[in-house]
């Protein structure tokens, strides 16, 4: 049952319905708090998804124009596609693979533990692992993470068999098929994985956790959720006391609406979140809403990533089965003797021929390129995901010369690798090559980072208002009833895939907001 709230009624307005926004919508409505969720994209259902890479991409991806700058290869190869994220109800949880490692204790305190790193804007989180642990537990149970809380591991698929055998032979110990938020057996009313190999295209089988299959329908069933798809927030307005009082949004016809707000929670992923804050600049907030620190849009992180695809003389068929059900944690430790601070995971990954062709070596052609594809059925693949350094100059800004279809400035994403990022990637490529050579790879190819799937840091948490945008609860330092509920709040990125941490933070934030609403502090 879907609620409908008056646009003039001051309510809790959540912008975005992904890992952060969808979780907040459920947690708040479950506590009896009515919410309006503004979702820029359409309400796609699991049965709408298609098992075809380009068709699904065009159906799900955020394709509104964006621009890029900086020395990252994305600016050359995919200048208008800095990020590969979703514009639909459920947000990027409908497209994610499913790996759910936690942050490590020291990853909340990198400035203290790593020390000063030239050119990096490291800062300790105003939060510890111990404080987040109960919420990690709740997030893992909600998402059905394998390997924890009694959830069984997924079985080994073909790509994992190569990955694990290689890991074993080069001496890695900490490898398994998860933690991974896709059901190995029926759980939480959803079926076990049928290993259909389609994750980035949305999971038609509903075995993979997403807010589309869990939090949104549960929030709907409370009768307290007013979900408005195809509603693109364009501005948060404030009253004369500096409190957020409404959200302006465009519907699918481009008509502007105003929804009054008592509390505003922004969870639009780390490119649109700072964009919205910057679009909300007024005389009282000349540099953008909640930006007295000047940190809105800065410290953009995307994880240090890359892939290695290795060809064998025997069949692998990596595309069969769960895409990322394979994790090696050995290199996720902090060991500066490797020549960089922080760590990285190796995780299985596969693409179909259409996407492998597009991403394996962008710009490439000729016999060396086509050999990579000829080996398709004998190819195994993995992904590197490691901590990258926050840098003030890596930044989301408004592009004042390029406008979207509504006449609004598009976001520009500027990114340069930090030398630490480059050193980590180089190490990871070499380890991945060793891994595959150990099980007889004929060749291994280094694939550069894909358009960013992990977008982080552009409204970071800080103890002191001058160092960041939000406090330890994700509340804006400058605006008492404005919260950020997505990966933008990450003070630093850690090595872990971010979704679990976004969900854990959102559950914790919802508790805080509910408490403060009850005590009238909000």
């Amino acid at each position: 049952m879907m609620a409908s709230q008056d646009q003039n009624e001051e309510t809790v307005v959540i912008i975005g319905s992904g890992a952060g926004g969808g979780t907040l919508a459920y947690e708040l409505t479950a506590k009896g708090i009515p919410v309006v969720v503004l979702e820029a994209g359409p309400y796609l259902r699991n049965e709408d998804y298609v098992n075809n890479e380009w068709e699904a991409f065009n159906q799900m991806a955020w394709l509104d124009p964006r621009t890029t700058s900086g020395s990252w290869r994305i600016a050359r190869d995919f200048p208008n596609l800095p990020a590969w994220i979703v514009k639909a109800v459920g947000g990027t949880t409908t497209h994610w693979s499913g790996a759910t490692p936690r942050f490590k204790a020291h990853e909340f305190a990198t400035r203290s533990v790593y020390g000063r790193v030239e050119g990096a804007n490291l800062l300790d989180w105003p939060l510890t692992l111990a404080e987040l642990e109960p919420y990690y537990d709740r997030a893992e149970r909600a998402m059905g993470s394998t390997h924890v809380h009694g959830r069984p591991p997924l079985p080994a698929n073909n790509n994992y068999k190569v990955f694990a055998a290689g890991a074993e032979r080069i001496g890695y110990k900490h490898y398994a098929t998860g933690p991974y938020a896709t059901n190995a057996e029926e759980y939480d009313g959803r079926p076990a994985s049928i290993q259909d190999g389609f994750n980035f295209q949305g999971d038609k089988n509903r075995s993979k956790w997403s807010t589309l299959v869990r939090e949104i329908p549960r929030a709907e069933s409370t009768g307290l959720l007013d979900l408005r798809p195809l509603s693109q927030a364009v501005q948060i307005t404030h009253d004369s006391s500096g409190r957020a009082d409404a959200v302006l949004y465009l519907d699918e016809n481009g008509t502007l609406h105003r929804q009054a707000a008592r509390v505003v929670i922004v969870a639009c992923n780390a490119i649109e979140t700072p964009r919205l804050l910057l679009l909300s600049a007024t005389a009282a907030f000349p540099d953008g809403l909640a930006n007295s620190s000047g940190q809105v849009g800065r410290n953009y992180m995307r994880h240090t990533t890359g892939s290695v695809y290795a060809a064998f003389d025997k069949p692998v068929r990596m595309y069969r089965g769960e895409t990322m059900a394979g994790v090696i944690a050995d290199e996720s430790r902090h060991d500066p003797d490797r020549g960089f601070v922080g760590g990285y995971f190796l995780e299985t990954l596969s693409l179909g021929p259409a996407f492998l062709a597009a991403f394996v070596d962008p710009g490439s052609w000729g016999p060396d390129y086509t050999r990579l594809l000829d080996a398709y059925a004998q190819t195994a693949g993995l992904w590197i995901v490691g901590e990258d350094m926050p840098q003030e100059s890596n930044r989301v800004t408004l592009n004042t010369t390029v406008k979207d279809e509504n006449g609004l400035p598009v976001p520009n994403v500027h990114f340069d690798d930090h030398p630490n990022d480059a050193a980590m990637r180089e190490h990871a490529y070499a380890q991945a090559e060793l891994l595959y050579e150990a099980v007889g790879a004929l060749s291994a190819h280094r694939t550069p980072p894909y358009p960013s799937t992990h977008n982080l840091g552009t409204a970071r948490m800080s103890e002191r208002p001058e160092d960041g945008v939000v406090d330890r609860w994700g509340r804006a330092h400058d605006v008492p009833n404005l919260f950020i509920g997505d990966g933008s709040v990450f003070t630093t990125g850690a090595a872990a895939n971010p979704t679990l941490t976004i969900v854990a933070l959102a559950i914790r934030q919802a508790e805080r907001i509910a408490d403060q609403l009850r005590t009238r502090e909000l």
Binding site: A105, A165, I194, G321, G363, T370
Partner: protein, 192 residues
């Protein structure tokens, strides 16, 4: 203009059947797959021609670019053996027209069912019940791996040699793997 007008033919702006057949040869040479039949190459060429029709500028560039290959080949590009044809394409690699062909080919040639079949990719699988009973784990040339973390194996989160502030208590974590267990670290309080 990409090329000087002293070659009058370079001013041609309409794509001919001959241009189509040169284009197919260009794609074959630039993206050589011995196992691919002609169909995917022809469909890709037609896709490029279709897209070129949508933009006068692309059409002009493509027409002139394809004609220029004849100049560079010293005859008909289609008559060159693979090696020589590849060398000619290397010379035009940075031109707009070749970039247009390359991009459009990458996006379309491999999004083709006949190509998938040739490469051994099975396409949509949900309607067939996924691969859970159709070989998701049929790789048999490596030992069966374990799928769980080793019980009792501790991941050392910070290497022993790493300099860390004395205020930071180093502890290690119990399994499972990267999941903190009951003994997880309680260090910190050191802030900048």
């Amino acid at each position: 203009m990409v090329f000087p007008a002293k070659y009058p033919s370079l001013n041609a702006t309409e794509l001919t059947d001959e241009a189509r057949s040169v284009l197919i040869r260009v794609i074959r040479v630039a993206f050589p797959h011995e196992s691919f039949p002609d169909g995917p190459y022809e469909r890709t060429a037609d896709k490029i021609l279709d897209e070129a029709q949508e933009s006068t500028w692309f059409r002009v560039q493509l027409t002139q670019g394809l004609l220029s290959l004849g100049q560079l080949a010293g005859g008909d590009f289609r008559d060159l053996p693979d090696e020589q044809a590849l060398r000619v394409l290397r010379r035009v690699e940075s031109t707009d027209f070749f970039g247009f062909i390359r991009r459009t080919t990458v996006l379309n040639l491999y999004d083709d069912e006949e190509v998938w079949e040739t490469l051994g990719y099975e396409g949509p699988s949900f309607d067939k019940g996924g691969y859970v009973h159709r070989g998701f784990d049929d790789l048999d040339w490596l030992p069966e791996p374990r799928i769980d973390y080793l019980p009792g194996e501790v991941l050392e989160e910070i290497a022993p040699g790493a300099p860390v502030p004395t205020s930071w208590t180093i502890t290690t974590q119990a399994v499972p793997g990267n999941q903190p267990g009951a003994t997880s670290a309680q260090g910190r309080e050191a802030r900048k």
